[in-house]
């Protein structure tokens, strides 16, 4: 299965009631498959092909508040168009699940993979999960429904997969029995739109109340990290359980932190090409950010490399590196930090590029110190 096929299969087994979507590359195949499942009767759901992504997410909010298990999927400009409603979905505590097939943002227009889209929505109050391969896409989507609908959470979840490198790459995917997934995803009661039990959803709040709403929302999102451990622990496939961070070659002195599909390239380089002094930390949960786990994993390292597949123009650091630096600062850990931007607009790092980067990083690490360095991997200008 490709990443997109795995996503659609997981959503089908999760017995969603409602899907709305709008086509955009590289996401489109997910909803094409889902519309086929609905047409063939394999999935009992309403499929609403809306006239925009903004309406797709708006319809999901309506469906979710009506009590349905709702799913949508998008990429890039589509996620940007949804931006306004992302905040409403989390603010109204809608347990919507969305597959985000990460793609660069225009301009210039580019259909290939990077994380600019989801990072643009970083503060929208969603739980954000990153999958490395189609198998993880499958497992994480199923767990996302249970996490989203947990009574202590009731928040939307985005499951991110890199455009093309994960969404369109085919590899064997082990799936669970339909009945096992069904048992894992019970239906929980939650407040819904109902004439016989009328409630108001989407009231406005003045300065007297708005602040409290937002702080409570933040608390809930942070708590969702704890609920995630519980939700994952019950997942019937032990190897598919969602861990916040995945560590490889833990003894390496130089820690590399990354999210998404390029993890595999780095793992291969460390394992096969004997860069045994490097450890790899693949972050599966970006929001809420697992600061404690991350600091534990890197606190003894001589240097920490943070790989960002997006940029925050004009900011002191890019999104992932910024979160890592803040987490380290909060824990009182001072370390040689190397921020690497890679893969913008689909410039997927090759093994050769990774090796060059590792050599350069070693050089910086040998230099010691507790400073911040910045690299651009694969940039054709005057970077690395």
């Amino acid at each position: 299965m490709t990443g997109n096929d795995a996503a659609a299969y997981a959503v089908k087994q999760s017995d969603v009631d409602f899907i709305s979507a709008y086509p955009i590359t590289p996401q489109t195949i997910i909803v094409e498959r889902l519309s086929e499942y609905v047409a063939s009767g394999e999935l009992h759901a309403e499929f609403v092909a809306t006239e925009s992504e903004h309406s797709a997410l708006s319809a999901c909010v309506g469906a979710s508040l009506a009590g349905a298990r709702a799913f949508t999927s998008t990429s890039s400009q589509g996620l940007a168009l949804m931006h306004e409603i992302l905040y409403v979905a989390s603010g109204l505590r809608c347990p919507i699940v969305m597959a985000i097939v990460n793609r660069a943002l225009s301009a210039p227009l580019n259909i290939h993979g990077d994380h600019s889209d989801v990072m643009g929505s970083r503060d929208a109050g969603w739980i954000q999960i990153f999958a490395e391969n189609p198998q993880e896409v499958y497992h994480y989507l199923i767990q996302s429904f249970r996490l989203a609908e947990h009574p202590d959470v009731l928040l939307p979840v985005g499951v991110n997969l890199d455009g093309f490198t994960v969404s369109h790459s085919s590899e064997p995917v082990e799936v669970l029995e339909d009945s096992v997934v069904k048992e894992y995803l019970p239906r929980n009661e939650r407040p819904r739109l109902d004439y016989y039990s009328p409630a108001t959803f989407g009231a406005f709040a003045l300065p007297t109340h708005y602040f409290e709403f937002k702080v409570e929302q933040d608390k809930t999102l942070r708590k969702a990290g704890e609920v995630l451990d519980e939700v994952a622990a019950h997942y019937p496939s032990p190897e598919g359980r969602l861990r916040k961070i995945d560590k490889f070659n833990e003894d390496g002195r130089i820690a590399v932190i990354i999210m998404g599909g390029t993890t595999g390239t780095l793992r291969y380089a460390i394992k096969s090409l004997r860069f045994r002094d490097f450890s790899l930390i693949s972050l599966k949960l970006f929001s809420p950010f697992p600061s404690r786990e991350l600091v534990e994993a890197v606190s003894d390292a001589d240097a920490v490399v943070v790989m960002d597949r997006s940029m925050s123009p004009g900011a002191p650091l890019h999104p992932l590196a910024s979160n890592v630096a803040t987490s380290l600062y909060e824990a009182g850990v001072s370390v040689n930090l190397i921020s690497v931007v890679y893969g913008l607009g689909g410039r997927e790092p090759t093994i050769k590029m990774v090796l060059e980067m590792f050599e350069k990083v070693r050089e910086i690490a040998r230099g010691g110190g507790k400073r911040l360095s910045r690299l651009f991997l694969g940039y054709q200008g005057d970077g690395l």
Binding site: D17, V48, E51, S58, A66, Y195, S197, T200
Partner: protein, 305 residues
């Protein structure tokens, strides 16, 4: 469908409680009260951002005695699509029951920013009643022009009067193939009530366009709301008609229209139109009213209901 001919024929359940914060004489809330008294339960109301939302849903209070949801400004029809389709799916799975869906939106949320979502929902054929209370400008933000503002009207963004005509929203929705599109006025409450019921009895997306005079934005005294609505109809400015599957009926023929000036002179937004130097704008306004009325007569003659 039970016809409404007297007050006791209404369901009697007030959907919008008193104590909301609308201005005195607000035409929109009068219309909404009538709609909800007439609407056949069970139903769910969806509103976009706008006057109605702001006057009825200030946390921790609500004026809504019926289920109500507000998401954003431009997406009421999309939210309603989601509610409607979700309830259909849940009923099939034995996880819920279908309930009717009513959108109540202002003209900005309908004619302008919500237009794409509205068109999409009508094209997809969702089973919902979309009601537009038309107060002919963005009143909530302080009287800015919308596509529903008529020619010549002053607003805070058309200080010398709007130069363009009002968008013909009902014809656009008729063109979507809707089974039922109609106009109504709160001064003709029986007609309005029966149109709500008729719309709800249809399968598919239906539309009700209600004139909602706004004392604040139209600049008239708040006790005149119903009189202004009545004059809008009796001058042929706001024709009362219905279109069922493309067939037209004028529900309130106006054989002897009142002079348009009677309507205009009550509202300070039109004050400048009555000055001699603006006679050409007044003439254009009258021609617009006449041509639309004549068009309607021809449609009712060619495609009678």
């Amino acid at each position: 469908m039970m016809q409404v001919s007297k007050l006791t024929d209404l369901y009697g359940r007030e959907g919008l409680s008193p104590g909301h914060t609308a201005c005195q004489g607000c035409g929109a809330t009068i219309a909404v009260r009538q709609v909800l008294l007439a609407a056949e339960p069970p139903y769910i109301v969806v509103s976009p951002t706008g006057c109605l939302e702001v006057v009825s849903s200030q946390y921790p209070y609500t004026s809504w005695r019926v289920p109500w949801v507000h998401v954003a400004f431009e997406n009421a029809a999309a939210v309603a699509s989601g509610v409607e389709a979700a309830l259909r799916a849940l009923e099939k799975k034995g996880l819920g029951k279908r309930q009717k869906v009513i959108v109540i939106a202002g003209d900005g949320g309908t004619f302008d920013i919500g237009f794409q979502a509205l068109s999409g929902a009508f094209e997809r054929g969702h089973n919902l009643l979309y009601i537009c209370y038309d107060n002919e400008a963005y009143m909530n933000t302080g009287i800015q022009r919308s596509a529903a503002t008529p020619l010549g009207a002053t607003t805070t963004t058309t200080p010398t009067g709007k130069l363009e005509m009002k968008k013909d929203i009902t014809s656009i929705l008729v063109a979507h193939g809707s089974p039922y599109v109609a106009t109504a006025s709160p001064h003709l409450w029986k007609d309005l009530a029966n149109k709500v019921r008729k719309a709800q009895s249809k399968e598919g997306p239906t539309f009700l366009h209600i004139v909602a005079p706004c004392p604040r934005g139209w600049y008239f005294d708040s006790h005149l709301t119903i009189k202004v609505a009545k004059l809008a109809v009796e001058t042929r400015i706001f024709p009362i008609y219905e279109v069922e599957h493309g067939r037209y009926r004028i529900n309130y023929p106006v054989p002897r229209p009142r002079p348009i000036e009677e309507y205009l002179k009550l509202q300070n937004r039109f004050a400048h139109l009555l000055k001699p130097e603006n006679a050409h704008i007044l003439e254009a306004f009258k021609q617009w009213v006449e041509s639309r009325w004549n068009h309607l007569l021809k449609m009712a003659e060619a495609f009678p209901l």
